[in-house]
């Protein structure tokens, strides 16, 4: 008997496209210029200088890989949990900068939204100034990842397809 799609299946697709897509784009933007992203990491003064070049390669790679897996709906729960942990780290850094009052350029989303210059969207997702809006934006992603971790990727996902294939045939 085929399973009928429910509200979560539709919501999961939207969340995966939104969160996964954004992480892929952000990762690619950062991946294009590792030096600029390394300098952005350095601005936060939270990581030892010797580790910064490696982190400047690691974060974009993790974002592209994780974002791509979310888009495909592969290992959705595990990928969401991983990206949730990464977002918690980024959010902690943002809150630290806000509280310390340091003038730091965020580097969030690789400057994508600042380049697009779309009203409201650029203000919420843009990379220019770190404000509580930046923390709120991360909160949206945290919510999306938490929901995908809890409920999974829905029926329009590779997870569902692979699960069906490995299920024993009904008698």
């Amino acid at each position: 008997m085929s399973q009928r799609p429910g509200w979560w299946d539709a919501a999961a697709v939207l969340l995966r496209i939104f969160a996964g897509g954004m992480f892929v784009i952000a990762g690619v933007m950062k991946w294009q210029d590792p030096l600029a992203f390394a300098l952005a990491i350095e601005s936060f003064k939270l990581a030892p200088e010797i580790a910064i070049p490696f982190l400047a390669h690691l974060f974009p790679t993790l974002e592209i890989l994780g974002g791509g897996m979310l888009l495909a709906g592969l290992w959705t729960k595990e990928t969401s949990a991983t990206l949730l942990a990464v977002t918690v780290v980024f959010t902690g850094a943002i809150i630290w900068v806000i509280l310390s009052g340091k003038p730091v350029s965020c580097g969030c989303f690789g400057g994508l939204f600042e380049r697009l210059n779309i009203p409201v969207i650029s203000a919420v997702f843009g990379s220019s100034k770190i404000t509580w809006l930046s923390a709120l934006r991360n909160g949206i992603f945290l919510g999306a990842f938490a929901a995908l971790w809890w409920r999974g990727g829905g029926i329009a996902s590779l997870d569902h397809l692979l699960h069906k294939k490995t299920e024993p045939a009904a008698a």
Partner: protein, 172 residues
């Protein structure tokens, strides 16, 4: 199953670390800081400039960035001998800036070569400023400009507060 869950997370993390390691080994090395270069400064009639740079009035000179004064910037700017880059955020730039300054916040370098670089001459003296004090945006922009082939870049350390203190013209 918790064990499968943790195993998959470990695989995702290990794959990311391996891919990042491969990039680290094969892509151009990331050098956060370069040797500070002496700027080649155009001649100026500003006495402070000549005294600090220890140079004759009518000749080109080299100087440490610390020797750059607002008066020197004002003169070079009026004569079109230097490009001024404002590394502050667009909102701050819009509120007031050194006349003819280009706005180039550090964030514009994330995601590739900023379009404003096409309007600048890499060989010309380029003076960068930001909010002064503990603002390090101008140093990051300086590093990126050097990366993009700019050969005569200098940071005006007192930044925007220094310009205001000097009483320089403010463009809005």
């Amino acid at each position: 199953m918790p064990s499968t869950f943790l195993l998959r997370i470990t695989i995702i993390l290990c794959a990311s670390v391996l891919l990042a390691g491969a990039q680290w080994a094969t892509r151009k090395p990331i050098v956060l800081r370069t040797e500070r270069q002496e700027a080649v400064l155009p001649p100026t009639t500003s006495s402070a400039a000549n005294i600090e740079a220890g140079s004759e009035r009518d000749s080109e000179m080299t100087a440490d960035p610390k020797a750059i004064t607002a008066a020197m910037i004002d003169e070079w700017n009026r004569n079109g001998e230097a490009a001024i880059v404002d590394a502050r955020l667009a909102e701050e730039f819009a509120e007031g800036r050194i006349p003819y300054a280009y706005n180039l916040p550090f964030g514009d370098f994330l995601g590739g070569r900023p379009a404003v670089l096409d309007e600048l001459d890499p060989a010309q003296l380029t003076i960068i400023y930001c909010g002064g004090g503990d603002c390090d945006a101008s140093h990051k922009v300086e590093r990126m400009l050097i990366e993009y082939g700019f050969t005569n870049v200098v940071v005006y350390l007192p930044g925007w507060p220094g310009w205001l203190e000097y009483g320089g013209e403010v463009e809005k």
